[in-house]
Symmetry: C2
Subunit: 337 residues, 2 copies
DNA sequence: CTGAAAGCGCTTACAG
DNA sequence: CTGAAAGCGCTTACAG
C-alpha cells in the first residue's frame, strides 16, 4: 500500500520498467493493449512516479521557481493566482522563494534555485538592481534556465523577457484625465523608495504635465499610513493642490482621508486617483478613480510565456505589455459610477 | 563552469565522494583539515548538491508543501511570510499548491504532494471538510508525512496538530466589549458561506449575547462589496441596530460606508468592530476597532511546529492557540486612539 | 577518519 | 513495439 515503484507496476503488468515509463511519458510508442494494461495497473496500485528519480534521470523537474519579495503586497498575491492557474494547466509545480530585499541573501537564493534544478524562473520583484539583473542573466545563460520578469521592469534590456503593462502610458493617461478636468495643480504622490514601476508612472506624469505646460510636482512619501498622515497634513498647509495621482491605491485613500479631515471636499476641491484597483479603491469614500492593472493576467501570461520558453518554442514578443483601463469613480470629477 | 558534481569536488580535493558528502552533511565525522580542504574546493567550484540526487538517495527532500486556497486573501499572504521566514531558518524549500475549493482536484493535488516526496505539509485552507480531513489523515498515517493545520479549524480532532487563535473567545470578547458600552441590538455580520473560523466567531458572539440576556441576531452576507451594499441598506430599514461585529475587517468597513451614507453616525449611533486588523482597518474612516489576529505568527509557529514533527521531536501542545488582542479605535465608543 | 560499492527510482539511447 | 542496461548525482551502511 505504501509506495508503489515502477518495478511493482512492471511486475504486475508483466512488462519491463522501460515500457511502464513509456506508457506514461510517450504513450504513442506503446501498443494500445499494453498501454492500457499498464495504465490500469498504475491506477490500481495508486502509483505516482517518484519526482526525484524522475528529475534526476530526465534532468527536468517540471517545477518552476517563483521569486517574490514580501508576499503580503496585494498585487503579488493576485499575480500568484494567475501563475498557479496556468502552472496547473501545464502540470508545473511551484517552488516559492520569498526574498528579503534588505538582506543580501538573494545571491544564495538564486544559487539554491539552480541546485533545485527548476525548469524555469519567474521573477516578481519590481525593484531590480543591476546586480540582480546580472545574476539573472547568468542563470539564464550559464545554466540555460529560462526566466520571465513578471511585472518587473528593467529598461533598456530585453534579453530577459518580461510581462507587465505600460506604466508610463498609464501614468500619462491618468494625469491627462485630471488635466482635462481643468486641474492645474496636480501632484504625483510617489514613494520615497525608488521602484522602477513607480518611476515609470512618474515619467508618464511628467510628460503629461509638460505637454500641458503645467508645473510638475512630485511628492515622495512612505508606504506607511501613520507617516503619510503627518506628511500630507504639512503639505496641505504649504501647497496649492487640486489634483493628486498616487502611485498606489492605498496611498490615494490615505490622502483622501487626510484631505477630508482638513475639510477639503473630494472631488470638488481635489480630484484624487490611484493605481491598481485593489479592494481599497472600492472601500474608500468616495470610491477611488484608478488605473486598473490586470494583475492576475500579468501573472498568468508570464507563466504562459515561460512554458513556451521551457519548450523551446519561439516567443515572438519578448516584452509583453498588457492593456490597462482607467476606472472612473467618485473621487474625480469625471465619474462613471 | 556549468555544473560541478560531487565527483568534481572529490577529484579536486583528492578525497572520495563519500568524504565530500560527509563534509557537507556530517562535518563532525571528517577530520578538520580534510573538511576544510573540501569546503574550500566546494566554494571555489561553486558546488551545490543536486537536489534530486540528494532527495532520491536520502529519501528526504527538505521541502515542505504549503496548500492554500485563493492566494489573494490578505491573511493567507501574510501567513506565507511567516512560514517562509521560518522555513528559511531551517533550510526548507516551499512547494506551493493553490487549490480551488470549487474543483474536486484536491485529491489529485494531495497525491501529487505525496509523489513530490515532501517532508511535511502545511494546510492553510480554513474551510476543511470531513473528506479533506480524512485525506490528510491518510497522508499523515499511510505516508508518514507530518502535517500542521495553519489557522484551519477542525474541531473535535487533535490527531493533526494545528496552530491558530481561539476565535470563539475573540468573538466573545469583542461582543462583550460592545455590550459593555451599553449596546443592546448588536448584530454579528458573518458570511453566507460556512467557514469554520467564522463559525467559531459566531459561537463566541452567541455566548456573550446569551450571557447578557440579549437577543442574538446573525446576518449573513457575501464577501463581495457590491452585494453587501444592497443587503445592508435593506437591513437598515427593517432592523434596529446599535452595534455590529463583522467577521472580517472589509465587511465592517463596507458596513460603515453604507451606514454613513444613510446618515448614521459611527460610533455615536452604531459601534462597529471587525476582525484581523488589516490595512482596511486603518484606512477606513472612522478607523476600525478590531480583533488583532497575529497572522504572521500563526504562519511562523506552524512552520516551527512542523520542523519539530519532521525531526521526530515530541510536540507537547498539539493544538496551539496564540494570543490575540483587541485594538480599540474610533469606530466604537471605547476608543484608545 | 576514509574509501569502495550498493542502491535510491526513474529515463533513454541502443538493440532487436 | 519491447527489453536489457547504463547512467543521472547523491547517501550510507560496511569495511578497514
Amino acid at each position: 500500500m505504501s509506495k508503489a515503484t515502477i518495478y511493482d507496476v512492471a511486475g504486475a503488468a508483466r512488462v519491463s520498467l522501460a515500457t511502464v515509463s513509456r506508457a506514461i511519458n510517450n504513450p504513442e510508442k506503446v501498443k494500445p493493449e499494453t498501454r492500457e494494461r499498464v495504465l490500469r495497473v498504475i491506477e490500481e496500485l495508486g502509483y505516482k512516479p517518484n519526482a526525484f528519480a524522475k528529475g534526476l534521470a530526465s534532468r527536468k523537474s517540471t517545477t518552476v521557481a517563483v521569486v517574490v519579495p514580501d508576499m503580503s503586497r496585494a498585487s503579488i498575491a493576485e499575480m500568484m493566482n494567475g501563475i498557479a492557474d496556468i502552472a496547473r494547466v501545464y502540470k508545473y509545480s511551484i517552488l516559492l522563494y520569498i526574498v528579503d530585499n534588505e538582506d543580501n541573501t538573494e545571491e544564495d537564493i538564486l544559487k539554491e534555485i539552480v541546485a533545485a534544478q527548476v525548469d524555469g524562473l519567474l521573477y516578481l520583484n519590481d525593484e531590480i538592481t543591476d546586480k540582480q539583473h546580472d545574476l539573472l542573466r547568468t542563470i539564464n545563460n550559464e545554466y540555460q534556465i529560462p526566466i520571465v520578469l513578471t511585472n518587473t521592469l528593467y529598461p533598456d534590456a530585453d534579453d530577459i523577457p518580461s510581462v507587465s503593462i505600460d506604466y508610463e502610458v498609464a501614468g500619462y493617461e491618468m494625469t491627462k484625465a485630471l488635466i482635462n478636468e481643468g486641474r492645474q495643480h496636480i501632484f504625483m504622490v510617489s514613494t520615497v523608495r525608488k521602484y522602477m514601476v513607480n518611476d515609470q508612472k512618474e515619467q508618464g506624469y511628467l510628460r503629461a504635465m509638460k505637454e500641458a505646460n503645467l508645473e510638475a510636482k512630485i511628492m515622495r512619501t512612505s508606504g506607511r499610513i501613520s507617516i503619510n498622515t503627518e506628511h500630507f497634513n504639512e503639505y496641505f498647509k504649504n501647497h496649492k493642490v487640486d489634483g493628486v495621482v498616487a502611485v498606489r491605491d492605498s496611498i490615494a485613500v490615505s490622502f483622501i482621508n487626510v484631505a477630508r479631515a482638513n475639510h477639503v471636499k473630494i472631488p470638488e476641491d481635489i480630484s484624487v486617483a490611484g493605481f491598481q484597483n485593489t479592494k481599497y479603491a472600492s472601500l474608500s469614500r468616495p470610491n477611488l478613480t484608478c488605473v486598473d492593472v490586470p494583475i492576475y493576467d500579468i501573472g498568468a501570461v508570464s507563466m504562459r510565456v515561460l512554458t513556451k520558453l521551457m519548450n523551446q518554442e519561439t516567443v515572438e514578443d519578448r516584452t509583453v505589455k498588457l492593456d490597462h483601463d482607467i476606472i472612473y469613480r467618485a473621487s474625480t470629477l469625471k465619474n462613471e459610477e
